[in-house]
C-alpha cells in the first residue's frame, strides 16, 4: 500500500501481515570520497613495488636473462593486483607493458611491437593482473563479509543474553538500546498491546493502532530517521510492533543486518516478560484474596464476640430487669461498656491497618517528642490498668523524632497493652528511653512468660496471635500496626527475650532523632 502523509512521503509495503516495511524515500547521498590519506599511502606502496620490480627486471635484462626479467615483472604485477584489487592490477599491468616495451624489449627506448616475443609478455601481464586482482578482491570481500556476519551474530548473541535479565516490557527496549548501534541500526522503539492500544515502552505514550505508532517520528539532528517495523509475534498472537530506526545510508555500507532475526529475539523476550507480569499479577491477586479471607475471618470473630456479649447483656437487662439484683445489673452494664471499648479498639485497628496498606504519606509526619507521647500513654494506661505497675527509666530529657503524634501514641499504647496483658502481675513493666548509636531507643519490657521460639518470627504479622488459638485475645493487629507505623517513621522495631532462658518480652523501637539527644537535666531541688 502507498500512503501519503502531509510533510513527508512514506512508502509502506506490507508483506502479508508479518512485516510492515516503511522506508522514507531517501535521496541517497552519493558523496564519493575521492581522496584520502589511506588511499595515498596504499598507492605509494604500490608504486614502490612497481619501481622495485622494474629495477629487478632491468637488472635481469642487463645480465642477459630475458625470461627471468619477464617473470620478475610478472610477479610484481600479480603482487599489486592481489594487494589492491583488479583496477590497480590492470593499471600496473598496462604500465608494466609500456615500460617493458619502451625500456627492455628491442628496440630499446622505442615503442613498437614487432615479434610474438613482444606480444606474449604484454598479454601475460594483463591476464595475470586481472586474474590476481579478481581473486584478491573476492578474498577481501569474503573476509569482510565474514567479519560483518560475525559481528552481527555476536550482537544477536549478546542481545539474547542480556535480554534474560529483562523483567518487564520496558526493559526489553532499554537493554537492546544499550547495545546499539549496530551498523546503520541506531535506535528502536517497542510498542506493546495493552488493553487494546499500543503502548510505547518506557513512556506513557499510547497509540490507538499500529499505523499511528508507525507514523510517530523520531528525529536525529533535525531530520527524521528512516525505519523498518516488524510485528512481534508470539505463540498466542501479536504482542505489538518494534520499530528499528536506521541512520542514512553511506556509500561504504553493505546490506542491513537481519532485522527480522532481531525482531524475533525481541518478540521472545517481550513474550517472556508479559508472562512474568501475568504470573506476578496472579500471585498478588492470590495474596490479596488470602488477605481478604483473613480479614473476613477476623472481622466475623472479633466483631461478633463483643456484639454477642453486648446483645446478651442488653436483652437480658431489658427482659429481666425486675428479677436481677443491682450488682447483677451493674455487672451486665459493665460488660456492655467493656465490649464497646473492645469494639472501638478493634475498628481503630482495622482502620490503622488500612492506613498502613495504603501507605502513610510523609506529609502526615512532623516533629514529635517521644517522651511527651509516652507520658500521654502512661496517663491513660494507668487509668485503664490501675493494678499494673510501671517503672520508668528515661535517660533523655527530650527525644524529638519525625513521626505522627497520634500514630506514635497508638504504637506505644499497643505495646504497653501487650506488656500489661501478657506480663507478670507481680513485676512492673519497664519503660526505658535512651540514646542509641544513630538515634533513640524506646524499650518496653515485661516479666511474663515470653514469646515462644515458634511464635517469635511471626508476632509482627497481620492477624497473628501467639499461643492458644482457641481462646485468643486481641485482634492480632497490635504489633503489626506498631511495626507499620514505626517503619513509616523510618524506625525499626524488634522483639527480644528479657532473660537468657527466654522469659519476659522486650519490644525495642529505634527511631532516628531530628536533633541531637538532650541528656536528662539533673534534678535541681
Amino acid at each position: 500500500m502507498l500512503l501519503r502523509v502531509p510533510h513527508k512521503k512514506v512508502v509502506c509495503e506490507a508483506s502479508g501481515s508479518l512485516c510492515y516495511r516503511a522506508r522514507m524515500t531517501d535521496q541517497s547521498i552519493n558523496t564519493r570520497r575521492l581522496f584520502s590519506l589511506g588511499d595515498l599511502t596504499n598507492a605509494s606502496f604500490d608504486v614502490t613495488i612497481f619501481a622495485l620490480t622494474a629495477a629487478g627486471t632491468y637488472l635481469a635484462q642487463y645480465m642477459d636473462r630475458p625470461i627471468t626479467a619477464v617473470l620478475i615483472f610478472l610477479m610484481g604485477v600479480i603482487a599489486i593486483g592481489a594487494r589492491s584489487g583488479v583496477y590497480s592490477g590492470v593499471f600496473a599491468a598496462v604500465a608494466a607493458s609500456f615500460v617493458y616495451n619502451f625500456f627492455l624489449s628491442e628496440p630499446v627506448f622505442m615503442f613498437g611491437i614487432s615479434t610474438a616475443d613482444e606480444i606474449v609478455p604484454l598479454v601475460a601481464f594483463n591476464v595475470s593482473a586481472v586474474v590476481a586482482g579478481a581473486l584478491a578482491g573476492r578474498l577481501a570481500d569474503t573476509a569482510k563479509l565474514a567479519k560483518v556476519a560475525e559481528k552481527r551474530s555476536r550482537f544477536l548473541l549478546q542481545v539474547s543474553g542480556e535480554l534474560q535479565q529483562a523483567i518487564d516490557g520496558n526493559d526489553v527496549a532499554e537493554i537492546t538500546r544499550r547495545l546499539l548501534p549496530l551498523e546503520r541500526l541506531v535506535d528502536l522503539e517497542i510498542y506493546i498491546y495493552r488493553d487494546g492500544a499500543l503502548c510505547r515502552s518506557g513512556t506513557e505514550a499510547i497509540f490507538p493502532d499500529p499505523l499511528t505508532a508507525l507514523l510517530a517520528e523520531k528525529t536525529s539532528a533535525g531530520s527524521p530517521l528512516s525505519f523498518q517495523a516488524f510485528v512481534l509475534n508470539a505463540s498466542n498472537g501479536e504482542h505489538g510492533i518494534v520499530k528499528f530506526f536506521l541512520a542514512p545510508r553511506q556509500e561504504s555500507d553493505g546490506d542491513l543486518p537481519d532485522l527480522q532475526a532481531l525482531a524475533n529475539l525481541l518478540a521472545l523476550a517481550v513474550d517472556r516478560c508479559l508472562l512474568l507480569e501475568k504470573a506476578a499479577e496472579a500471585t498478588a491477586m492470590k495474596r490479596s484474596e488470602e488477605l481478604k479471607t483473613a480479614i473476613l475471618a477476623s472481622v466475623s470473630h472479633d466483631l461478633r464476640t463483643p456484639l454477642t456479649a453486648i446483645e446478651a447483656a442488653a436483652t437480658g437487662l431489658r427482659s429481666f430487669r425486675h428479677d436481677l439484683s443491682d450488682s447483677q445489673k451493674d455487672s451486665m452494664l459493665d460488660t456492655i461498656n467493656e465490649q464497646c471499648r473492645r469494639l472501638n479498639r478493634y475498628t481503630a485497628n482495622l482502620l490503622d491497618m488500612g492506613r498502613i496498606q495504603s501507605g502513610i504519606p510523609d506529609a502526615n509526619l512532623c516533629e514529635v517528642d517521644v517522651i511527651e507521647i509516652v507520658g500521654v500513654v502512661l496517663n491513660s494506661t494507668r487509668q485503664l490498668f490501675p493494678d499494673c505497675a510501671i517503672a520508668k527509666d528515661f535517660r533523655l530529657g527530650a527525644a524529638i523524632v519525625w513521626a505522627n503524634a497520634t500514630m506514635l501514641e497508638q504504637v506505644i499504647f499497643n505495646i504497653l497493652e501487650n506488656a500489661f496483658v501478657h506480663g507478670s502481675s507481680s513485676e512492673p513493666v519497664v519503660v526505658r528511653i535512651d540514646a542509641s548509636e544513630d538515634g533513640m531507643i524506646l524499650e518496653i519490657s515485661d516479666c511474663g512468660p515470653g514469646i515462644s521460639q515458634v511464635d517469635r518470627p511471626h508476632i509482627f504479622e497481620r492477624f497473628y496471635r501467639a499461643g492458644d488459638r482457641i481462646h485468643r485475645r486481641g485482634s492480632g493487629l497490635g504489633l503489626y500496626i506498631a511495626k507499620g507505623f514505626v517503619e513509616a517513621f523510618r524506625g525499626k522495631i524488634s522483639a527480644r527475650s528479657v532473660t537468657k532462658d527466654g522469659k519476659g518480652t522486650k519490644i525495642v523501637i529505634e527511631l532516628p532523632l531530628i536533633e541531637p539527644a538532650i541528656e536528662h537535666e539533673q534534678e535541681t531541688a
Binding site: 502512661l378 524529638i400 497520634t406
Partner: protein
C-alpha cells in the same frame, strides 16, 4: 445550659437528649447543616455539639457562621485519628472536641469545662484561674501551686495564662505560638521547650504530666483537677 446537638444519627440524638435533659439542660437537635443554621438563627444557645459528617455538607464549613449567629461554645464531635480535621475546626473557631465514640461521662466532663469557661468569660474582671492544685492571678502575675508561690519567666507565664484562660479547653499549638511569640509559624521546638520548663516547675512528675496535658498532634489543655469538676 441551652444545648444544640447537630448530628444526623437518630440513635445518638435519641440517647443524648434524655441524658442531657436529665442533667438539667435544655436540649434541641438538628440533623443537617441547614437545620442547624436555622436553629441558631431563631434561638440562642450556650453550647453546640457539632458532628462533622453531615448529610448536606461538612460541619467544618459552618463553624464560623455559627459563631456569627450565636455566642455559643462549639464542641466538635470527631473521629480520633482525624487530627487535621480537629485542628481545622479549632482554627475555624471551635472551642473543643470530643473523640467519637465517647462515653457519657467524657462528654459531660467537656460540657462542664465549657460551662466553666463561659462563667469565667462572663465575669467582668476575669482575673483568676484556679484548679484544685493551681492558682493563677493574671493581672498580678501570681502563680501558686498548692498554696506555694512559683516563680515563672515572662514567657512561661504568658503560655500558662493562655492555657488557663481557656479554662480547661484545648489550646492549639498555633494559638500558643501566637500567644508566646506573636507568630503562628514560629518553631514548635520553642513551645515544646517552654512547656517542658513549665512542667518541671508545676508537675509532680514532668514525664507523666497531670496538669498541663498533651493532646497528641493538636495542642495542650490545662487540667482542672478532679475536685473542681465535681
Amino acid at each position: 445550659m441551652r444545648i444544640l446537638i447537630v448530628d444526623d444519627e437518630p440513635a445518638i440524638i435519641g440517647t443524648l437528649i434524655p441524658v442531657l435533659s436529665a442533667q438539667g439542660h435544655k436540649v434541641s437537635s438538628a440533623g443537617t447543616i441547614r437545620e442547624a443554621l436555622k436553629e441558631a438563627e431563631s434561638s440562642d444557645f450556650d453550647l453546640i455539639l457539632l458532628d462533622l459528617g453531615l448529610p448536606d455538607g461538612d460541619g467544618l464549613e459552618i463553624i464560623s457562621k455559627l459563631h456569627q449567629l450565636t455566642s455559643a461554645n462549639i464542641i466538635v464531635l470527631s473521629a480520633r485519628h482525624l487530627e487535621r480535621d480537629k485542628i481545622i475546626a479549632l482554627d475555624e473557631g471551635a472551642d473543643d472536641y470530643v473523640d467519637k465514640p465517647f462515653g457519657v461521662g467524657e462528654l459531660l466532663a467537656r460540657l462542664r469545662v465549657a460551662q466553666r469557661r463561659q462563667e469565667l468569660a462572663n465575669q467582668s474582671a476575669h482575673d483568676e484561674f484556679f484548679s484544685d492544685q493551681l492558682y493563677v492571678h493574671f493581672r498580678r502575675r501570681e502563680v501558686r501551686l498548692l498554696g506555694e508561690e512559683i516563680k515563672l519567666s515572662p514567657k512561661e507565664f504568658v503560655l500558662l495564662e493562655a492555657l488557663c484562660r481557656s479554662g480547661g479547653q484545648i489550646v492549639t499549638q498555633r494559638k500558643l505560638l501566637i500567644a508566646g511569640w506573636n507568630d503562628p509559624s514560629a518553631d514548635s521546638q520553642y513551645l515544646r521547650s517552654y512547656i517542658a520548663l513549665l512542667r518541671q516547675k508545676l508537675e509532680y512528675d514532668p514525664s507523666e504530666p497531670e496538669m498541663i496535658l498533651t493532646e497528641p498532634g493538636v495542642g495542650y489543655r490545662i487540667s482542672l483537677g478532679t475536685q473542681t469538676l465535681k
